[in-house]
Amino acid sequence: MIQGELSETMHQRHSEHLKRKIAANASRLLDAVRQSPVRPKGLDHFIDVLDNVYVSDDVRSHLGGKEETPAVIGLYCMMVPEELIYAAGFIPLRLCGGSYDAFLVGGDYAPRDACPVVKASLGSSLRGVPSVYGLCDVVIVPTTCDAKRKAAEELSRFSEVWVLEMPHVKDSEASREGWRCQLYGLAKELNNLGKRKGSKTKINRSNLKKAMELIGAASYQARRLFSLRKLSPPALSGMEASIALSAYGFDRADIWTREMKSLNDELENRQGERVSRCLQRRPRLLLAGSPSIFPNWKVPLIADEMGADIVVDESCVGDRLLYDVAGLSEKTLDSMIEALAARYLAPCVCPVFTPNDDRLYRLIELAGEFAIDGVIYHVLKGCIPYDFELYRVERIFRERKVPVLRIETDYTLEDVEPLRTRIEAFIEMLAGKEKK
């Protein structure tokens, strides 16, 4: 419970403490990736971005100075159209939290059973650590799940919060109309923010088209990476792919796309040399469920350690982040906003939507495309939407004889050993099946 506001010096001290811990944890993970001998060179930029954000806390060094980017906008979830933000001349950053230490801080401001992502975000926002949290002029929170919605109110203590009302039923005219209105409203607010910041940019047809092309190019490169993981063995490890995708949340889209293109080219070239980490075919896993946000890599790390490859991650920080792309059939301003509204709502299979049969179809398709041996269904404590869908996901995979392992965990390290046992037993089970 809140004991009362801290004094300035105490707050400073707590922030320094948190910064050190986050830096230490992130550093350990990034170094592990750096030290891998088969790491592709193209990954270095993305490792550096995450390093700048979490370790050296110097995000401006890759985002550019204040003059180049008049405002930085923090986003939660993936339903906020980044194209509108780029069109207005601002930079979007993703703030969903993954730090265990921030989770401990934020736990005092959220109910015990609330989702750890929200707690970590609250903790980071309170302390302003990593500094990206303090950098954001505005934070946009779509009304996705309960915890996010209520956290928006708490977050408004630390920065200006815009709530974007997102419909939970996708396929109805009322929802589509309402969502489009929300986006028009967002565009207006962005223009107003620009005026406040002294920028002359207003969202218009030309800059929105450029912004859509920017994100479209990013989506193209993300899809290339997606395809490269279908290969057997996958062109890069689950962790390496995760680094590249996580870096997107903190990088400028044009730079990210450029570096991603080099990475993809490098991966395609070295497929010829068949760089593989081990001679035996490792079981191929689909990571489903609540997102594993950097640096919360508990489950992917254990799976990798225990001898399996996570070849596809269906969560919003994994392969779902940039897969969908808006259609640019008609290039009027209104059609483009309509296209954005459709792209950010219709194909999104987050379980906050009802009904969500589309997710089941998507999972079946992914399992086939990636030749999945097993599914790890990761549920964060308090994540009711994902947990509710477990039964249907288990059913569809049972029909296809693909084993599913449910893992429930949160942002503490207490349950690493039990998790290891379960995941190891699961992978043993899969490897045994393959032998037969």
């Binding site: 084993p403 050993e417 039990p418 046992t421 379960r422 037993a425 043993e428 089970m429 045994g432």
Partner: protein, 271 residues
């Protein structure tokens, strides 16, 4: 003659089983884990070899399982308890094994339900290692409160004709219930039987969650308790088989894992 050894480094006891290349069990040893599982394991290895009159260097492969499996320096390899129990259950010479499809392992600190397919492969598993409900710890704690021995409790439970209702499966809350039952002068056998039913209910709930199949084998230290076997049969409404030396099932499975690795051709498990 080639020898293979399996070590089950549990949290409460370390068990070791020695088999020859035909799968015949040559020796079994158990000892409390204490502080250093590795030392205890080494001692058990020496003792087993001494009994079987072989040198420890004659052992072709040692595989460890259980909570402390990675810390056993003697072991060349390790497998999870899930795999070990599954392998042990199919190969321990019991005639019922042809029909075993569910393994329930009631350990000292955890509870596992393993579902097997028709070819003996592991289809799915469920574990509880978060709390003491459904584990041996539940019985140990109750035995201490009632000042009985563990072995005595099981036999006493069988003599009861009208067991008390103990609603909690949580060890802490059940303790309060037991104490009030004692205070109200209920028959000790009935209370003990009620305790066993509470434990069996928890185990049965987990088995049902795992969609258990009939052909149930009970392993682990808990299987030595005849009271638990009977109450579990009542709760599951199906026969529960107990293999000979049930608490060695994990170590036996680990020994067979060593055997398979050594032989490179797996034994077919169904007798």
């Amino acid at each position: 003659m080639n020898w293979f050894l399996g070590i089950d480094a549990g949290s409460t006891y370390v068990k070791a089983v020695l088999i020859d290349e035909t799968g015949f069990v040559k020796g079994r040893r158990v000892s409390a884990t204490g502080f250093n599982a590795e030392d205890v394991a080494s001692r058990l290895v020496e003792e087993i070899c001494g009994e079987a009159c072989i040198a420890s260097c004659d052992i072709c492969g040692i595989v460890a399982t259980g909570y402390g499996r990675r810390r056993i320096g003697d072991a060349g390899n390790n497998v999870t308890e899930i795999k070990a129990h599954a392998m042990g259950a199919l190969r321990n010479g019991d005639a019922e094994n042809g029909r075993i499809r569910t393994i329930i392992d009631v350990g000292g600190q955890d509870l596992k339900v393993i579902i097997l397919g028709d070819a003996g492969e592991i289809e799915s598993f469920v574990m509880n290692d978060k709390c003491a409900a459904g584990t041996g710890r539940f019985l140990e704690h109750m035995a201490r409160i009632l000042d009985l021995s563990l072995s005595g409790m099981g036999k006493l439970a069988l003599t009861s004709t009208s067991p008390c209702e103990i609603n909690s499966t949580c060890v802490v809350f059940a303790e309060s219930e037991v104490i009030s039952l004692c205070a109200s002068g209920k028959n000790l056998a009935d209370i003990v039987s009620g305790i066993h039913y509470s434990l069996a209910r928890r185990i049965a709930r987990m088995a049902r969650n795992a969609s258990f199949k009939s052909g149930v084998l009970l392993t682990g230290g808990g299987a030595l308790n005849p009271g638990l076997v009977k109450t579990l049969e009542d709760e599951l409404m199906t026969d529960v088989h107990v293999p000979p030396y049930p608490q060695f099932n994990g170590a036996l499975g680990a020994a067979f894992a060593a055997l398979e690795a050594g032989q490179k051709t797996p034994l077919t498990g169904m007798s």
